[in-house]
Symmetry: C2
Subunit: 358 residues, 2 copies
Amino acid sequence: MHNFEIIFVNDSFSRSGILKTRRGEVKTPTFMPDGTRGVVKSLTAEQVKSVGIDIVLANTYHLHLMPGEAVVKKLGGVHGFGKWQGPILTDSGGFQVFSLSKLRKITEEGVTFKHPVTGEMRQITPEKSIQIQLELGADMIVAFDHLTGLDEKSRDKTREAFDRTHRWLERCVTEFKRLTKDMKAADRPLLFGVVQGGLDLDLRKKSLALVQASGVDGIAIGGLSVGETQEEMFKVLEALAPHYDPNRPHFLLGVGTPSDLRFAFEHGIDMADCVLPTRNARHATVWGENDEIMHLTNAKYIEDTLPIQEGCDCYACANGYSRGFLRHQFKVGEPLAGSLASIHNLRYLQRIAESYRK
Amino acid sequence: MHNFEIIFVNDSFSRSGILKTRRGEVKTPTFMPDGTRGVVKSLTAEQVKSVGIDIVLANTYHLHLMPGEAVVKKLGGVHGFGKWQGPILTDSGGFQVFSLSKLRKITEEGVTFKHPVTGEMRQITPEKSIQIQLELGADMIVAFDHLTGLDEKSRDKTREAFDRTHRWLERCVTEFKRLTKDMKAADRPLLFGVVQGGLDLDLRKKSLALVQASGVDGIAIGGLSVGETQEEMFKVLEALAPHYDPNRPHFLLGVGTPSDLRFAFEHGIDMADCVLPTRNARHATVWGENDEIMHLTNAKYIEDTLPIQEGCDCYACANGYSRGFLRHQFKVGEPLAGSLASIHNLRYLQRIAESYRK
């Protein structure tokens, strides 16, 4: 368990470190862009690198369905596939199975759902999730969990999902050990367990203790940013902050906004991922000075010669692509506008992460 | 008329040179990508540069309609707008007015047509075209011509368009001189006149003589690649080849395929532009070895680990983005696939151009 080196802990829970993976080091805290289908949408690996990013996330659910992990493996694994040569983390597919798939049926064995294109029934079990992620060739993988909180908030349901998540975690750990037992320590991917428990702070703390006792390499916090208020999310992060094992990396799944990230980094979180910066960017929504949410299609930007944010060092701002130019290109549907805005939004979040490093 | 320096003329009509513009030199022969709305679709200026391109084309018709030349000027002109810092050539808008606009009415004064978005009536005259192009800030501009050959091929119509093209050329030259009379020679954009005459070789030769007599800086060949066979186009290029003023650059408008370009470069053409490489690329169609037309969405590429073309030095091929990867990303609508394929197709044509240089 020496994959994480803490460089600095300040007087709050905020800390700065280096996470060591088989494909290089990750400076933390960090923001990880979502490369849903194996690439960060509309960006080359070189452009992602230019943002100052060390690690990207890929989605197990999407890659499993299309083109399938066997095809990705033949094309060189997630690294050979999308040409991102740094560390890649895959999620478990759990979130997508619960949020995107139709006709899903949850049993103790796993989740059965309908393939959105072919219509055939598929099942992802904890073992299957681990198998897919190792087949994809990720450097960090996540245990398959039972997500709650999307539509049901009853205590019974939360408790049921909580218990299942931990039974599934055991199965994930067992399967992971089985499949990686012949690997040298330096070649082994890192496994993250997922903390659930909805908004119930006691369940959350119990879940954290169970995950930490399971022997995983890293701690992931799931089930947040799924419809609750920011205040509710912050209460969970606050409650967990004093209880993390400091020697392992703490990963907040699916978060978030600039203010979410600041709060998270100030409460012991080392890494976070979210589709928000790139999805917003493709819809012409970017962050400006002081987290201002700018809609670049607004008519007020027609003749605006300023970059998105003065002083920003991203490729778009540093090269002076103007708001007026971007407005026009968004209006005419030019994909370059989304790429440039994505670069800016990712850099915006990465600068927040960098501000907490030593 | 010392803007063009010929380095080499071989025993056919093929030649290699350097075209000097106020914004730098252009090595010829060259292929110019179309930056219809001020940028080469889905590519940053840096990515275009990586292809080995010296000069890009922007479309007067599109930029005039949206966002308008006054807005482009306020945003820094075409160079400040799209951040391409090398030479930019604008076309006259003539081709688009004839091919894209609805309700167009042609009089001796100019062409009246309906704005495709606002529905208001607009008029482009020869003078207006020159004014727009200078306002946009292009380094090379093209005289407004009357295009024939899109739907009518009668000799009378061709003759009428031919005569009007030359009357309009005179008006363009007059307006150009009026608007640039206070510019130093080194700051003045270059003006190209357009040779028309359909498939009538006599008219074509007369048109070339008239354009060359008008005192323009460069010779553009218009009205080709508009529906005629390749054989018909080649006959025109062959007929014109012995008659070009060798001291001026020869620009073939809207062409073309790899074989079109080879034939053109072997018959005295120095520069050509076309939307084909980038438009095809966005639809997953790329050139492979020996001009093979590859449709990357084809199922045979699912597990193909090869780059588009082995040995190609474009960003996509040199970095090993596989056909299988590209197929998948095209299938799921990922814009990066179109960007990478665009880079390859542009590089494919630029390598043809480079093969004729000394």
